[in-house]
Symmetry: C2
Subunit: 344 residues, 2 copies
């Protein structure tokens, strides 16, 4: 186990001073005689020298690194988001340190502290909803914060990239209303999250436009983690007057919800029409293929990374930016007119 060469080793071997080597490394920092430059490059190559990131960071005061804070990589939504972000960051020479929160504000707080220690220059995150002061402090210390998917309204200064939550929920609800359904259940995230709130609003708006009453018992704002989605579905099915249609408005709840439906032997769409908010190609392979709101997470990722990197490089105007990308509704075969629904 030998130890890696330093800039000094290179300088010595090339017969120049460290500053020359440094200037070769950072081209715009000053002039170098072509002959010496070539020699230095040769030696660097020969020794396999690479600048230590820690030293650079210490000197620069900040790292060419961003933090990615998501709740849970076993959710395909976040997995694919992470994939895109890591990929995009790499192509810009930026590394990604990954942290998961399991939707726990306490773990989130820990993550933020750690990222601060690392002097990351940016963070892309799906916030749990808590830790408001901590987020503010992070920004105060010069870290560029970009929220993706969700947001924290109280935090004025953060960029946000999300899908059109209100709109998506409204459209899918309208679609079901258009099929004649009047008892439409909604399983969505907790009220403590911006997405949970926005999607419920969209759902309500669709009812209002159609002058349809909203049965509050049909709205289930449940935790993301665990089997909450499945349990909500179970309880909905057990109602004296069960719904004839169901919208699962959050990727985190889709899996457990669908599993419960399958377990209970519910026929789709004969017994129940179903729409899910999805990022999982498998929905297409089920029988019947599920109608989905397709979350354009490539767009989310691209915008998010564009924002952090943009901020890091100082371009981009001052104020916070809010980007909403459209989510397409893909009707497939999991919805039927009320008239053809068995239990009603």
């Amino acid at each position: 186990m030998k130890k890696a060469p330093t800039i000094r080793d290179v300088a010595a071997a090339a017969g120049v001073s460290v500053s020359v080597v440094s200037r070769v490394l950072n081209p715009d920092s000053g002039p170098v005689a072509p002959a010496k430059r070539q020699e230095v490059v040769r030696v660097i190559d020969e020794l396999g020298y690479r600048p230590r990131a820690a030293a650079r960071e210490l000197s620069a005061g900040h790292a060419l690194t961003i933090g990615l804070v998501v709740t849970d990589l076993s959710n395909p939504f976040f997995a694919r988001l992470a994939d895109r972000i890591v990929w995009e960051a790499r192509s810009h020479g930026v590394q990604v340190v990954l942290m998961t929160t399991q939707e726990d504000p306490h773990l989130e707080a820990e993550s933020l502290d750690t990222l601060l220690d690392r002097s990351v220059s940016g963070v892309i995150a799906t916030p749990t909803g808590g830790n408001i002061e901590k987020w503010a402090r992070l920004q105060d210390l010069g870290v560029n914060v970009v929220f993706v998917d969700r947001t924290i309204e109280e935090l004025g200064d953060a960029d946000v990239v999300s899908i059109e939550n209100f709109d998506s929920a409204q459209r899918s609800t309208e679609y079901l209303i258009g099929l004649g359904h009047t008892r439409i259940a909604l399983v969505t995230g907790p009220l403590s999250t911006s997405t949970g709130r926005a999607r419920i609003s969209g759902y309500r708006a669709a009812h209002e436009s159609a002058s349809l009453p909203v049965d509050p018992l049909l709205i289930r704002d449940v935790p993301f983690r665990g089997d909450a989605g499945g349990d909500a579905v179970g309880s909905l099915l057990a109602m004296p007057q069960p719904p004839t249609a169901l919208i699962v408005a959050n990727t985190a709840q889709v899996q457990s919800s669908v599993r419960r439906l399958v377990q209970k032997g519910v026929r789709i769409p004969e017994d129940l029409s179903v729409i899910v908010f999805d990022d999982n190609p498998w929905t297409e392979l089920m029988s019947p293929p599920l109608s989905v709101i397709r979350q354009p997470l490539d767009m989310l990722a691209v915008h998010a990374i564009e924002l952090v990197l943009g901020r890091m490089q100082g371009r981009l105007p001052e104020g916070p930016r809010l980007i909403e990308v459209k989510a397409d509704f893909l009707p497939r075969n999991s919805c039927a007119p009320l008239a053809q629904t068995a239990i009603r």
Copy 2:
């Protein structure tokens, strides 16, 4: 945008020297008078001081960080592996920087260089198969390397955690043979990977034990990325004498393979019996539920992290360790006896 306090600020505010503060931070590095300790702690808390990671790393020569190098986070296998590893690492106070290779040795090489720059003390990776000297160099520089899922036989010194590839392939093949099938197709990873080779061997062994000939045309070792799995399936179905059973022996190919089957209208198991190597809960929700070799990736993750951390802390005996965890075969309803198969 204020700037974070340093150890000097703390020392000044507490009326002590930096050494005292440092000793308070690192308890085992020397004695501190209880009174002073308390005061220092108070000031640290008041100022919200946190030690800069870069400075520590520079001083220590290595970072409390590990690199996680996988091919692709959109594969649920790697996503969930990453999830577990990040989680487990966090609980030990080490961060994870994430890199993806897209199965490209060139990108892998870049990643390794970057990780070297960061002075990571360990790497958990699913190697592409190339970059042998680079991996060796990494180890030479004191980085603990743990391969997971796949391995590089030429590299003597690396720990390896994998499933029993030979055995899993053998058992699933035997199961199908037991159902009377004689033309069993195998879609698996490229021969350049250890898993590809081992699974083909298991498949062959099962045939041998049953004194069944192996039709080489039924073995498709295809690339992981893209639609290679689906294309292989398409071409298998188009054979003059198509297979009556199919094993998709790699998670990366499952999705495109199954999609192709669905597209072609192949009935499972009436037309074709199917077994897939899986980590995706959705296989259970399809109709029919697919029989799978369930990859125990929790075990993979736990062992991998246990190995890196163990090495980092200097415990663990000298030589490289090879851990093989068992993968269970879960028969569900996607396989039928040959006698009940339509096309034969």
